[in-house]
């Protein structure tokens, strides 16, 4: 729960057409200062100099963590501690970020950001001495090979300590006479999480005078277990002919936690302290899920100054303060506590103690005050035409954490629009006062009961434990070294591509002054990113189609007026033209389960929806969002090439079917325990989808009629092997077919399009298809082939707005083959025959083009698809509808 967020009130330093003034680059908003503010200030809401639209994708990949356990040495037969094979997939994150900055009037600027992250993988939930035997080896079904570690928080119920409370074990297994071996080696216990998605939208409105600007903004971040709302105001003041700029910002964040506690780990983790505080609810409607609630508030303020030092150097400095109150702990992290019951020491080793290991949900203070101070120096290097950036930042809080950050960037332009930036960063922090890998408490862990036999109160005396405790590695003492490189290529016409790579290593031994956490907690990661930036102001200066629009010459060209949901509807006009577009699609299913065209009862699904097995679950809702970039280029008049990267995310809720058999009577007990997880948490996936590559050929283009053919290829860049988390000692297996991100096969995508236009009327028709070119993907199946036919008509309401109506027919086969690995089949969505069908829809759309001004030629379209009829294969959830929205600009 290391999160708080808000949008920064970084204010752009230039004003009006300021991006053309030379001094403004140097006085570019104090974005850098804002970026390093206490959590309240979002780094993503940086101020842009000019009207622009940016898209960025990034991938974060953590390395595998080492874990160890007390085991019996296979050679000597003695007790020992050794590394355990870690089969958990490490954390992986796919992120998408879109940013737009537009001038509304000469003095009013509007900025908007959208960010989403989908992550999944294994992470530490607790720490304990390895000799205690957590992380016991997981043996394969045949009992012969070790396939990994089980995520138990404790191995043996009893643990042994010497007189100084060091963890010990008998030299020879089960032989108290064999002597004691002390071993302080610690190990994390890891647990996996199924993929989860966070989405954030935020905005900022700025009003600018000549030397002063004021801004206000806000936003919201939403995920399954956490929601954050934030707002901020800020001001900027330019002094000394813009040699000095002052910034002052204030922000507020309010965040709610509502975390479903994993019922697999609940038997091991004591959550009673939160229960007694009224922070835990049991929801009987969702399989008795235990939900931990918390609220937190953050107030932040920041003051920054930037100063031109001389004609080759500038500097900035800032100070900020954040006060946080409320629930700041992580609802999924626990601290291992050894309870030593003085009255029960019969098995204690000579001179030592026996204890009982229990994990308590971590407890952090409900107040935190953070101070942060930083500076940046930028020096121009004449002989290299390069710039050297130095940053230093100091942070301190009343949790006892002091941190130092040093960074140096070398920004080296290479000519022809290329810039290379190598960088290095070093970070070091002290541990929080209440950080502890594990605890020992000299008391019994015993549940108390009242006269009627009801459990009351805590099983331990909290007075004999610290008030706060956490073993979260983020609060430990450590250092981190990272380095990376960014490469930027600026093209003509205002387009830029950026890409970057960074490697980061976290090590206890890197801490300044030593004394950091042990090497068991070390980890590393890399992150790579790619971004496309479109400078709208440069486009409008550059001529081309936008200049034509300026002259009022062209508003909707042939085919360009097709409804938003029609892909490949138009070609570019002439050789050398470019187009950049963004396409968003949303689809939702909920309501009835259908068989063919008719709603069916739960009983019918139980009996027939899952082949020869009974069904236990049905999908309650299924939502898909797709974000696509639409990049077009015309090498000749008769050919347009198109590249379409996609980012997809999906979520699905599930419910129990009435009349389903008790899972425990039909399934293996541990497997049956997966069903409550599905009901309690739903499923989420997200990341890169398949990559589309298309060539469009002009067949006929005379007067009012236009015909073109498209041949496309879809590369299987989307994942088709996403798995659910292992729990109850059973693998989660593949998530169902519909939740995977791509097809996994190379697909051929042909289409033929006819469009026409006469006066205020426009119309068109298109036939398109998807043919899977492989019989199965790497996971063993292939999605069904697809055929679609559509026809539409449009009418110009004004010279810049068109309304359209469209009809669509779609036919898709069911899935061929099936997953070639484990899939826990609980509902219709887990069976290949319950995919595909025939669909009839009608679409209602609006298309607008900005007729004049700086943004002339920008085109916006939306279309809603309303299902008319579904005729599904097998048993499927009814569709609610789909939305398409597009933005594009040609140049």
């Amino acid at each position: 729960m290391q999160r708080k967020e808000a949008v920064v009130v970084a204010i752009k330093a230039s004003k009006g057409n300021g991006h053309k003034l030379p001094e403004n680059a140097s006085l570019l908003a104090l974005t850098s200062a804002a970026l390093v503010l206490p959590g309240l200030f979002s780094p993503l809401a940086n101020a842009a100099e000019t009207d622009e639209v940016d898209f960025q994708y990034s991938h974060y990949q953590e390395g595998k963590r080492s874990i160890s356990s007390g085991i019996i040495d296979p050679v000597s037969g003695d007790n020992t501690v050794a590394g355990i094979k870690n089969t958990f997939n490490p954390i992986e994150v796919d992120s998408l970020h879109g940013h737009a900055n537009v001038t509304l009037t000469d003095r009013i600027k509007f900025a908007f950001n959208y960010t989403q992250d989908t992550w999944g993988g294994a992470t530490p939930i607790a720490t304990a001495p390895a000799v205690f035997g957590g992380n016991a080896e997981l043996v394969s079904a045949d009992g012969l090979t070790v396939v990994g570690a089980t995520p138990y928080l404790q191995g043996f119920n009893q643990v042994l300590l010497d007189s100084k409370l060091n963890p010990v074990q008998f030299a020879t297994p089960f032989d108290p006479t064999s002597g004691l071996i002390r071993n302080n080696q610690l190990s994390h216990t890891l647990a996996t999480a199924s993929p989860e998605t966070r989405k954030q939208g935020d905005f900022k409105l700025t009003y600018e005078w000549d030397e002063v600007a004021l801004s206000g903004g806000g936003g919201i971040s939403v995920e399954d277990d956490y929601e954050s709302r934030f707002g901020n105001i800020g001001g900027r003041w330019d002094l000394n002919q813009k040699r000095t700029t002052l910034n002052l910002d204030l922000s507020y964040t309010n965040s709610d936690t509502h975390a479903t506690l994993n019922h697999d780990t609940l038997p091991y983790i004591d959550i009673k302290a939160y229960d007694l505080r009224g922070q835990i609810d049991t929801l009987s409607s969702v399989a008795d899920a235990q939900i931990l609630h918390g609220n937190r508030q953050d107030w932040g303020t920041h003051f920054g100054v930037s100063q031109v030092l001389n004609k080759d150097a500038l500097m900035s400095a800032d100070v900020s303060y954040t006060r946080s109150t409320g629930y700041m702990a992580n609802p999924y992290k626990a601290v291992s506590v050894v309870f030593i019951d003085p009255g029960q020491q019969t098995n204690a080793p000579p001179g030592g103690f026996e204890g009982r290991l229990k994990a308590l949900l971590e407890q952090r203070p409900d107040e935190r005050n953070q101070w942060n101070l930083g500076g940046r120096y930028v020096q121009y290097l004449h002989n290299l035409d390069a710039a050297l950036h130095f940053d230093y930042r100091f942070s301190a809080d009343d949790w006892g954490i002091q941190a130092h950050t040093f960074e140096a960037d070398w920004v080296q332009p290479l000519g022809s629009g290329w810039t290379v930036t190598p960088r290095v960063r070093y970070y070091s922090q002290d541990a929080a006062d209440f950080y502890t890998p594990w605890l020992v408490s000299q008391q019994a862990y015993k549940q108390k009961f009242d006269a009627k036999g009801h459990a009351v109160g805590l099983s331990y005396d909290p007075g004999k434990l610290p008030a706060n405790f956490s073993s979260d590695q983020r609060l430990s003492g450590f250092g981190a070294l990272s380095g990376g490189i960014s490469v930027t290529k600026r093209f003509a016409k205002g387009l830029s591509l950026e890409t970057g790579f960074e490697y980061y290593t976290h090590q206890g031994s890197f801490k300044i002054g030593g004394g950091g956490e042990g090497s068991y907690a070390d980890f590393d990661y890399w992150v790579a990113n790619a971004a496309l930036k479109v400078d709208l102001a440069a486009l409008s200066l550059g001529g081309g189609s936008i200049a034509n629009a300026h002259a009022g010459h062209t508003h909707f060209d042939h085919g360009g007026q097709a409804p938003a949901g029609v892909m490949f509807s138009h070609m570019l006009h002439q050789a050398g033209d470019f187009m950049v577009g963004y396409r968003y699609m949303y689809g939702n299913q909920s309501g009835n389960m259908l068989h063919g065209t008719d709603p069916v009862s739960d009983q019918a699904i139980v009996a027939n929806g899952c082949g020869l097995n009974p069904c236990f679950l049905r999908p309650g809702s299924m939502t898909m969002h797709m974000h696509m970039l639409d990049l077009m280029y015309a090498p000749t008049d008769w050919l347009t090439l198109m590249l379409m990267p996609q980012f997809v995310d999906m979520s699905m809720s599930m419910g129990a079917l009435n009349g389903a058999p008790d899972p425990q009577t039909v399934l293996d007990f541990n497997l049956s325990q997966h069903i409550p997880h599905h009901i309690q948490s739903g499923h989420e996936t997200g990341g890169i989808g398949d990559l589309g590559m298309y060539a469009m050929f002009k067949l006929f283009d005379k007067g009012i009629h236009h015909v073109h053919a498209t041949a496309g290829l879809s590369a299987p860049t989307g994942d088709v092997d996403i798995q659910l988390a292992r729990n109850h000692q059973v693998d989660g297996g593949f998530i169902d077919y519909g939740m995977q991100l791509g097809s996994g096969t190379w697909d051929f995508k042909p289409s033929l399009t006819y469009t026409g236009q006469l006066d205020q009327l426009s119309w068109g028709t298109q036939a398109n298809g998807i043919v899977r070119m492989d019989s199965q993907n790497k996971s063993g199946y292939a999605l069904g082939n697809l055929f679609q036919a559509t026809a539409w008509g449009g009418y110009n309401l004004t010279h810049w707005l068109i309304a359209s109506v469209r009809g669509i027919y779609t036919l898709q086969d069911s899935i061929q083959g099936q997953f070639n690995g484990r899939i826990n089949q609980f509902g219709p969505m887990d069976y290949p025959s319950n995919y595909g069908g025939q669909y009839w829809d009608v679409g209602f759309g609006l298309s607008a083009v900005v007729p004049s001004g700086d943004l002339a030629g920008n085109r916006l379209s939306v279309e809603w698809l309303q299902p008319v009829e579904d005729k599904v294969n097998g048993y499927q959830l009814e569709r609610d509808g789909a939305l398409s929205a597009t933005w594009s600009v040609m140049f």
Binding site: M1, H389, T405, Y504
Partner: protein, 74 residues
């Protein structure tokens, strides 16, 4: 209090550096300062991303700790 004192001293130091190092730079002398490599933040998108990730990995008041923080297991 000790923390606040430390912070104040560091801020004063930074301010002194500013004042001492400043010379008058006329608008027509700002050609180098206007170059994109001299921007205080030359790669805002990437810097934002890195701050976002570091913020969820480190306890310092640095950047935004938003990423995956809802679970915190990330």
């Amino acid at each position: 209090m000790e923390l606040i004192k430390q912070a104040a001293i560091r801020l004063l130091l930074a301010m002194c550096l500013f004042v001492a190092g400043c010379t008058v730079v006329q608008p027509w002398e700002r050609g180098n300062l206007a170059k994109s490599q001299m921007a205080l933040e030359p790669n805002p998108l990437q810097t934002g991303l890195r701050a976002h990730i570091n913020g969820s990995r480190e306890a310092a008041a640095v950047g935004n700790a938003a990423q995956g923080g809802g679970c915190g297991c990330y």
